[in-house]
């Protein structure tokens, strides 16, 4: 009953905000303070997600650059703490989303909307781009990030122990900053580029390089076709 009421309030508040100015959508989580999920899969969206000290998911929709008007066709819905943001497929939009700092699952995917940016969040991140970079900084948790053309820049405050990760791009660069106490099996390959790693890796540079950081752990797969790989240690 409580959940249904909260859901109703959240839906109503969304409509109210949309009706007001169409720029900010506030989504109340039905179980505030508990792990939530954020799904964004909009092909031409420039997605930015930032952690903030609040309980709601707040979606700021940027102006349509082609005509300077508000993008009214972005909608959100929430069910059991799972928030989905939907939008137009052919129009370029900008989404600036604020999320609580409680742990969450972030599934963000774009095709050619620009760089996917995530900052200061906790949880499990799945970031998929095609023509555009990925930047995820100050993350506590785990990341699986892939793009075809673009740079991947990632830095961790803390990582989820035991969770494998993967980073891949065809052209660009991959820069990852892991905590110094990383425990992982590194598996890195750059077809036409160099690998610089603060954690020791060995192997044939023409093939995969392997390293056991902190005695080993889950696999961290890092693959780039054209470009360099930099693995840093956060001291």
């Amino acid at each position: 009953m409580k959940v249904a009421l909260l859901a109703l309030i959240s839906i109503l508040s969304c409509f109210r905000l949309m009706a007001q100015d169409g720029r900010q959508l506030v989504v109340h989580l039905s179980e505030s303070g508990k792990p939530f999920t954020l799904n964004v899969n909009i092909s031409r969206a420039a997605i930015k997600v930032t952690g903030y000290e609040g309980k709601d998911v707040v979606v700021n929709v940027g102006k349509d650059e082609s005509n300077g008007k508000e993008s009214l066709d972005v909608t959100t819905h929430e069910k059991n703490n799972e928030v989905t943001v939907e939008g137009p497929n052919r129009k370029a939009i900008k989404l600036d989303i604020k999320v609580p700092k409680t742990a969450g699952i972030f599934k963000l995917s774009s095709v050619n909307g620009g760089t996917i940016i995530v900052d200061d969040v906790t949880g499990n991140l799945e970031l998929q781009n095609k023509s555009g970079g990925i930047s995820a900084l100050n993350i506590s948790g785990s990341i699986i990030a892939g793009t075809l053309s673009g740079r991947i820049t990632v830095s961790f405050n803390k990582i989820d122990p035991g969770v494998p990760m993967a980073f891949s791009t065809i052209s660009g660069a991959i820069d990852i900053t892991f905590p110094a106490n990383l425990k992982a099996n590194l598996k890195i390959k750059s077809d036409h580029g160099k690998v610089y790693s603060a954690f020791p890796v060995t192997g044939d540079p023409a093939d995969w390089l392997y390293g056991k950081a902190g005695g080993g752990g889950p696999e961290m797969l890092i693959k780039i076709t054209t470009g360099n790989v930099h693995i840093y240690k956060r001291e």
Partner: protein, 267 residues
């Protein structure tokens, strides 16, 4: 000397068998010692009475008895002597031997029993351990197969990485991995699956699956990686699939170059 010592000489003195010196000494003592004189008188009386006794003559019956006894003894002695030939010695040796061999036999039997018990126990334990291993393996497989359907890409990645720890990978796992390689929505999960399958490329089912997968991949990153794997494993059977891939419209330029290079190197 004391009277006791002189008393020992008394019988010899009476029978006149004592040496002159002792005889004189004793006689001097007897002159002075009443007790010893009385003892001499008593000894002389006993000795005189004994020597006066008549010798008993053996009765006529005695000889007969003695002969009978002797014959019985001879007869008793004759029997063992008669069994002293080869066969009886063999028989005896046969009969006397078993005590030790029997002990050996019992010991061997005991050891054998122990061994049988030990081995049967060991094989039981081994069987149990094997069963346990099989159960763990099955459990891991079940868990892995379930995890491959997880909505979280990191869980699916975990499942794929599990296969690297598996000592043997059976049909179900290969089918599941190939399905993941062809259908997983996440590029990185497919990339990791390709690497996992490349490790299992000795399996003909895996090789066939990898070749079939070439034309099913739409992500350039997987297409490039699969070309690398085929080149590394020198899978010449993949050439026709790559040629087919080249015919695909909208193929990424990087991929096109890589595939052409792969075909040239494989031929």
């Amino acid at each position: 000397m004391k009277c006791e010592d002189y008393k020992q000489w008394l019988p010899d003195w009476h029978m006149g068998r004592l040496g002159n010196a002792e005889k004189e000494e004793l006689e001097q003592h007897l002159n002075s010692c009443d007790i010893c004189r009385e003892a001499l008188a008593a000894t002389a009386l006993v000795l005189d009475n004994i020597s006066g006794l008549p010798d008993p003559t053996p009765s006529a019956q005695m000889a007969v008895n003695f002969r009978g006894m002797l014959d019985d003894f001879k007869a008793a002695e004759k029997q063992p002597a008669a069994t002293n030939d080869f066969w009886s010695r063999l028989k005896r040796s046969w009969a006397s031997q078993p005590r030790f061999p029997l002990a050996y036999c019992l010991m061997i039997l005991l050891i054998f029993d122990c061994m049988v018990y030990w081995f049967s126990r060991n094989s039981e334990q081994e069987k149990e351990v094997q069963e346990l291993h099989a159960q763990v393996h099955e459990l891991k497989q079940t868990m892995m197969l379930a995890m491959l359907d997880n909505p979280l890409a990191s869980e699916r990645l975990k499942a794929v990485n599990y296969t690297g720890e598996m000592k043997r990978v059976d049909h179900n796992v290969i089918v599941a991995l190939l399905a993941t390689l062809n259908n997983d929505p996440n590029d990185n999960v497919r990339l990791s699956t390709l690497e996992a399958l490349a490790r299992l490329a000795n399996n003909p089912e895996v090789r066939t699956g990898l070749i079939q997968s070439i034309t099913k991949q739409d992500s350039p990153i997987i297409q490039l990686a699969i070309a690398d794997v085929m080149l590394k494993l020198q899978v010449k059977g993949s050439i026709s699939a790559f040629k087919q891939l080249l015919k695909q419209k909208g193929l990424d330029e990087n991929v096109r170059d890589k595939v052409k290079e792969t075909i040239t190197k494989l031929i």
